[in-house]
Subunit: 330 residues, 2 copies
């Protein structure tokens, strides 16, 4: 059994959420006996943007609840989406009369539960729309299809859509904006070491001592190719080139980038890798107008990194990314 | 060799600092070819507070450079303090005419280099004072002496002293304030897994599969006692009780607490542990007036946690802790 600072397995999620709300009680509160974390300050006259998913991705998603960001996050068991009932309760709680916008990561169970909750909320008279984030541009080993799961780039969608909502954008316009952002968003992740789930001693997949795995998911899913890690520079080169194939970038193209640690990778390595990404993009004259570096959407104790590109198609997107927030994970 | 996202060993620190400044270029700049990171915005008419030490503790110390916080951090090689010359250069760069206050962690080489730089700066006509932070209340295995190294609690000293400086406190008064804060500050750390230094494949110390080590340092130093990790609750109980022996806490005593991850411990475990600390203190009627939870002073890829208590002897300390800042590590 891996050493973990935990108590009984059945209490992990409730104690996790209690700890998060304790640490950030000035901005967050938890609806009793639920996985729903809401912003203390309710803001009328704007669409409430909410997101959620399984736990194990901290600071996602509660870390994105706050000023100019989410009104609530709905948190399920580890790596398991919240139930339709809890999502519905979150929608009803967050709605301030202007409707609710859902940011959903593209995993089958997440999509099913969120869309069923949306349908029920609409029946109950609440205006609800959604976007499905599918930024993962890795490919299936078997058939070379793109996986298109929702991964770390999701936090850019949160920030842009919620920023627009805070400035009064309507639900219909938010849905259009969100689709445009998702269409410009791509992420590729690599594991240096697999994670372990609480209560188990087995790693989620196997990696040779010197190998890394390209295209891993955020739930400990193995990647599509294993190869040796030669250097940060070569890894940055590989990821930048793979991401570039998703765009028609030219000199002067404007990007927002996200270097996301998967949980147990030291800040030192994230910084060195970020520096390599910067050098590669500078060489090509691509402008990095916005960047974030840190642990934003983790996979428990997995070691590794993901790189996200968002091509900034409109100046407004940068404006929304730069709005101030008190959300603890941003 | 452990897999690390790095390039040549000789480039680790310079690429680390480049990456940090790239990610935070709106607030930070690096003096070319040095380990000195300064706040872009220079503020006249106040004492400049600066700190520093070896790298490998990210986000310390560059993460505490910013509004109402440090004017500069001086960064050395991994786990090795900066030279006297670089510290002196940092003092001269940061000084805006009101003098410079140094926050030094209590490790022999750090103290020597910082005090020699202070002496030389004074010779050159700059007013300089310092505090030596010694919050580690663990004990030596051999002789039961307190180690009194400077560890994670140092960030509370940064915030309080720099907040007071930002509000115009004089150098002499800052020195008195800093001594009072350090006298109320205690930290105890525990490793769940040792770290590894870049370029080596050996762990810094050995731990049995189910054991944890009490009283570890932030440079991978082994602790004073190994025992099995039974639960987060028991660990919290042990650390809270050990820290309480440093104070005369009664119902209504006011604490600021810091739950600091050592680098590779998942946020989930920090939150569960924090929740246990909260419950224990609540049971005794001790008031937690301020808290921070996250990775603030790490030890590369060590897994584990430290707990810091600061007894809030004056309301002003809480005020300084709560001042807004743009420093990326706070």
């Amino acid at each position: 059994m891996m050493k973990k600072m935990m108590n009984k397995s059945k209490d992990v999620v409730t104690q996790l959420l209690s700890g998060i709300v304790f640490a950030h009680e000035d901005i967050l509160e938890r609806l009793p006996k639920t996985g729903i974390i809401v912003r203390r300050q309710r803001v009328a006259d704007q669409v409430a943007v909410i997101s959620g998913g399984g736990t194990g991705h901290e600071p996602a998603h509660s870390g994105y609840v706050g000023e100019n960001l989410l009104a609530a996050s709905i948190n399920g068991p580890i790596f398991t989406p919240p139930t339709r009932e809890e999502i519905l309760m979150g929608i009803e709680e967050a709605n301030q009369g202007q409707g609710v916008f859902l940011v959903i990561k593209n995993f089958e169970a997440d999509v099913t539960n969120f869309l069923e909750a949306e349908e029920e909320a609409i029946k109950r008279g609440i205006s609800v729309k959604h976007v499905i984030v599918n930024d993962d541009c890795s490919i299936e080993k078997a058939n070379f299809k793109k996986r298109r799961r929702g991964v770390a780039g999701t936090i850019f969608v949160h920030k842009i859509v919620a920023g627009a909502a805070a400035e009064g954008m309507t639900l219909d316009d938010l849905a259009r904006l969100a689709e445009e952002v998702v269409a410009s968003l791509n992420t590729l992740g690599v594991a240096l070491a697999p994670g372990t789930l609480p209560g188990t001693e087995n790693s989620q997949f196997q990696l040779a001592q010197n190998e890394i795995s390209f295209g891993i998911g955020i739930h400990g899913e193995a990647g599509y190719r294993e190869e040796p890690l030669e250097s940060s520079e070569k890894l940055a080169n590989e990821l930048v080139n793979k991401l570039k194939t998703q765009y028609r970038l030219t000199r002067g193209s404007q990007l927002a980038i996200l270097v996301n640690g998967l949980g147990s990778t030291p800040y030192m390595e994230l910084a060195i890798f970020s520096n390599d990404v910067r050098r590669l993009l500078e060489l090509e004259g691509i402008q990095i107008k916005f960047k974030k570096m840190g642990n934003f959407m983790t996979s428990l104790n997995m070691a590794g990194v993901s790189l996200t590109f968002l091509e900034l198609k409109e100046d407004k997107w940068l404006h929304y990314l730069m709005l101030p927030t008190d959300a603890y994970g941003w």
